[in-house]
């Protein structure tokens, strides 16, 4: 039974070996802000942070993250990027948005004033089919308000 630390809280979860972190977050912990859109590591919708680094939770086995700090969108709800995304209209259907914000939060934590190219590089792993990209770029550029 892996012991997880998610958004600063400790959880003991019952999961078979081979279970993904995304599945445990969504189905056992009720943290459905993390979305699964491809379930094979191609789209970025399931992005969470592991010790501050963005990872794909659909490809991450839950047993491999024991003892490390997992941060999901629920742990970033008060991050200024959330307001920045809404202000810039950087979301349409919103299904990829939590993953975008989790990636963006890691980006601005490492580099508080990213250039346009740095944003494009850092966010290229998060697909948005609605095409909110110009507004995402704007939201991250102006994240501090």
């Amino acid at each position: 039974m892996p012991e997880l630390r998610v958004n600063g809280e400790a959880f003991s979860v019952d999961a078979e070996v081979g279970t993904s972190l995304a599945e445990v977050l969504r189905e056992q912990l009720g943290l459905t802000g993390t979305k699964v859109a491809c379930n094979e590591g191609h789209c970025g919708a399931c992005t969470v942070q592991l010790d501050g680094v963005p990872i794909l939770s659909c490809l991450t086995l839950v047993h491999t993250v024991e003892g490390r700090e997992v941060t999901t969108i629920e742990g970033l709800r008060d991050h200024p990027l959330v307001d920045a995304f809404v202000r810039a209209d950087a979301l349409q259907c919103g299904f990829c948005t939590p993953g975008q914000i989790v990636s963006g939060a890691a980006l601005v934590a490492a580099n508080p004033s990213p250039s346009r190219d740095e944003i494009r590089h850092g966010m290229a792993g998060n697909i948005c089919r609605c095409g909110t990209y110009p507004k995402i770029e704007e939201a991250i550029s102006s994240w501090r308000g």
Partner: protein
């Protein structure tokens, strides 16, 4: 008074004639320009819920005791099921129910054959593998031209006006070309899915990711022989559809059948790979086009033969529509045929037919401009249609010439753009026009409820599929009630909690729903003033609402709550409906886009640097959300133009691009500068708002504008989408060979 009318109803360019009961639309339109709330940029009212991960999509619905379904799908494109035994699946661990076989005739890879419900998705997927099937594999029919030769048709349409032979005889210049567009996949981020729960033997609740809760209700009720009011359909938040989610699918019925069999709620969600097999597509097309014009550019004849690779099922989208409608041309002849193939059925995809057809037509127009040595923008002006090209009906409004005028500063960048060419990189500029529907129509209804606290709720069972329509409705109600936007909520996405509302397809939600919401808010406002007149012993006609206050012509002014608080737990309920479209008029949207590109003539790499989009869609409710729609449409169009293609194995007909690494959609790194200009001129004949839809127009001219910019940059005619490096290099070689030919030689 309710009026019964017989009217044409249009969705995605498909017309049906039907009876509709409409209320008269008695409100005058608001004055032009930004008002207090309408016409001003507004952040989405549900943006925080979505951004914070609080919004519950169908994918997030977890019901007590819910089972998970997996679907056995055909691995073959064309086959017969000669024997099937589902019993081993029924005996597998965790399995609670099995449905199937659903069919024995397989028409495409991915077609559903059986379904299994189990305690976990992994158990259901494991059980599917145990189903014992014998397939008789048959030769798949994959070539649309071959299907037409064999008479395997899904639909056929011919349209003719004038005399094309005479038209070509009168032409000084004739151009011809064969254009091809590829099959593209919607790939909404939330896959097609439903959770079904029987709440009684004859009462079913369906949670579903859909663009039309009422359409799902109607189809599901009919399927199970239930009164429609015994089927409740819920879609509160929705992760994208783009036309692929206009109704229920096999997954809906598999979930409902398994839920009935097991007595437990069942989720059936497509995996991403299933999504790329069996959730619809924009069908590929072959377009054989011919245009004739006088030396001054006036079109004398247009002729097109269009083949849609429709697939195993679907409908004939109007690839010839732009040729038929965009320009004034007296002589026009088209034939459209849908090929029945062993490929997955097409579904509507953001301006179905018109995206494909505009690529062909608008590329041909630029080839014509080249031959005539005429400016492409001027050529389009000279063929502007002042009335509907098909039947001469007047337009309810058309400001395409104004769009062209507004395009001039972007078009005038041509010299500056071309001058950027350096080394193997050539820069160029191109444009394309668009025409589309987007007028919406009745029936659609809304209620507006005002409580004692002076807050309002718009209640209507429409859906917001990500386009921001909920916010637009709140702005409209806020404007009419003179309330700030943060005092208006919107309740939507549940057939049990509001009146009938329009499908969210065909750029119709705002033009269909907006007028109904305004009428409902006006009804509530009228009731508030009636009550205020009695409360303050004033004549009602001296009272009005202003900035959330009741204002008397005699000078008095009271906060709205001074009246509404009298209600205590009571409420004011306004109701409104969508009035008719203007009779005898065509309601359409228009626009033009200008693209700037760079082409590496050594490698065939194409980069789009800038796209300016100028559209005439009537009054704009939310300029911020509207610019997002334009950007989203252009970015999808960019994918259609440069990178996206469903590839089939040419022998077996199986799909090679089932994953998002092989099916290449644009990322943030691919996005050009996008400039959005909306004319924002209300359509004086259309409803109490004068607003048309905007979801589809921006995707329509994108690929043609890019292809025309490539021609400007390199002299090469790209005629096939996507413009891969191979296609680009082929077109460059062809252009080079053409240049080598001696002057006066016949054109290839």
């Amino acid at each position: 008074m309710a009026r019964l009318i017989r009217t044409e109803k249009e969705v995605e360019g498909r017309y049906t004639e039907q009876w509709i009961v409409v209320e008269e639309d008695t409100l005058d339109q608001w004055p032009d320009g930004p008002l207090e709330e309408v016409g001003r940029p507004a952040a989405r009212i549900d943006g925080l819920q979505r951004a914070r991960g609080e919004a519950r999509y169908t994918a997030d619905v977890q019901l007590p005791g819910m089972l998970h379904a997996a679907v056995l799908r055909s691995p073959h494109a064309h086959a017969r099921v000669t024997r099937i035994d589902v019993e081993p699946a029924r005996q597998a661990e965790g399995v609670r129910g099995v449905v199937g076989p659903l069919t024995d005739e397989i028409g495409y890879q991915g077609q559903a054959v059986a379904g299994v419900a189990a305690e976990t998705l992994a158990q259901a997927q494991a059980a599917i593998e145990l189903i014992d099937v014998e397939w008789e594999v048959l030769e798949p029919l994959l070539d649309p031209d071959e299907a037409i030769r064999q008479g395997a048709l899904v639909g056929e349409r011919t349209e003719e006006r004038g005399d094309v032979e005479r038209g070509f005889a009168e032409a000084d210049v004739v151009v011809e070309g064969v254009y091809r567009t590829q099959t593209v996949l919607h790939n909404s981020m939330e896959t097609h899915q439903a959770v079904c729960e029987w709440e009684a033997r004859d009462r079913l609740t369906v949670y579903i990711s859909t663009q039309f809760v009422w359409g799902v209700r109607e189809d599901v009720a009919e399927h199970y022989g239930l009164p429609p009011d015994h089927v409740r359909v819920v879609c509160r938040f929705m992760g994208g559809g783009f036309g692929s989610k206009n109704g229920p699918g096999d997954y809906t019925y598999i979930a409902a059948d398994l839920a009935r069999e097991t007595g437990r709620p069942v989720r059936c969600a497509l995996t991403r790979r299933e999504e790329n097999l069996d959730s619809g597509n924009r069908n590929a097309t072959v377009q054989r086009l011919k245009a004739g014009a006088r030396s001054d550019g006036t079109l004398t004849a247009l002729e097109g033969e269009f083949v849609n690779a429709t697939g195993w099922d679907g409908w004939l989208s109007s690839t010839g529509g732009p040729m038929e409608m965009l320009y004034a041309c007296e002589n026009m002849k088209l034939v459209e045929r849908g090929a029945k193939l062993n490929t997955a059925p097409m579904k509507a995809f953001r301006a179905p037919g018109f995206v494909e057809g505009t690529f062909g037509l608008e590329c041909l127009m630029d080839e014509l401009a080249g031959k005539l040595e005429l400016d492409p923008l001027e050529l389009r002006r000279r063929n502007h249609s002042d009335a509907d090209a098909t039947d001469g009906r007047p337009f309810s409004s058309k400001n395409l010439l104004e769009c062209y005028r507004r395009a001039e500063p972007h078009w005038a960048r041509a010299d500056e753009v071309r001058a950027r060419s350096e080394g193997s990189w050539r820069h160029g500029i191109g444009l394309a026009s668009q025409i589309w529907y987007g007028g919406g129509g009745p029936p659609s209804y809304a209620w507006v409820r005002v409580g004692a606290d002076g807050r309002a709720v718009v209640i209507t069972a429409m859906q917001d599929i990500g386009t921001g329509t909920a916010t637009a409705m709140a702005q409209i109600a806020a404007e009419e009630l003179t309330l700030p936007l943060d005092r208006v909520d919107v309740s939507l996405g549940d057939t049990a909690r509001g009146p009938y509302a329009s499908i969210s397809a065909g750029s119709s939600t705002v033009p269909s729903m907006g007028p109904a919401v305004r009428a409902a808010a006006a009804d509530a406002a009228r009731q508030i003033l009636e009550i205020a007149a009695q409360r303050f012993e004033l004549e009602e006609r001296t009272l009005s609402l202003h900035k959330g206050r009741i204002v008397s012509a005699n000078g008095g002014s009271w906060p709205l709550e001074h009246v509404t608080e009298l209600l205590e737990s009571g409420q004011i309920l306004g109701k409104g409906s969508r009035g008719p479209n203007p009779t005898g008029m065509r309601v359409l949207t228009f626009g033009v886009q200008v693209a700037e590109v760079a082409v590496d003539v050594e490698t065939g790499e194409v980069r789009v640097d800038r796209i300016a989009a100028i559209h005439d869609v009537g009054r704009v409710i939310n300029p911020l959300g509207a610019s997002s729609q334009v950007e989203g449409g252009i970015i999808q169009g960019l994918g259609h133009t440069l990178s996206e293609e469903r590839l089939l194995d040419p022998r077996s007909g199986t799909v090679l691009t089932q994953t998002l690494d092989s099916y290449r959609m644009p990322t943030i790194a691919d996005v050009p500068e996008i400039v959005t200009e909306l004319l924002d001129i209300p359509d004086a004949h259309l409803t109490n708002l004068g607003s048309k839809g905007l979801g589809e127009p921006p995707i329509i001219p994108t690929s043609a504008a890019i292809a025309n910019a490539i021609r400007d940059a390199t002299g090469a005619d790209v005629r096939s989408l996507p413009i891969t490096r191979e296609e680009m290099l082929r077109a460059l070689r062809e252009a080079q060979e053409r240049r080598k030919e001696p002057v006066g030689a016949p054109a290839a």
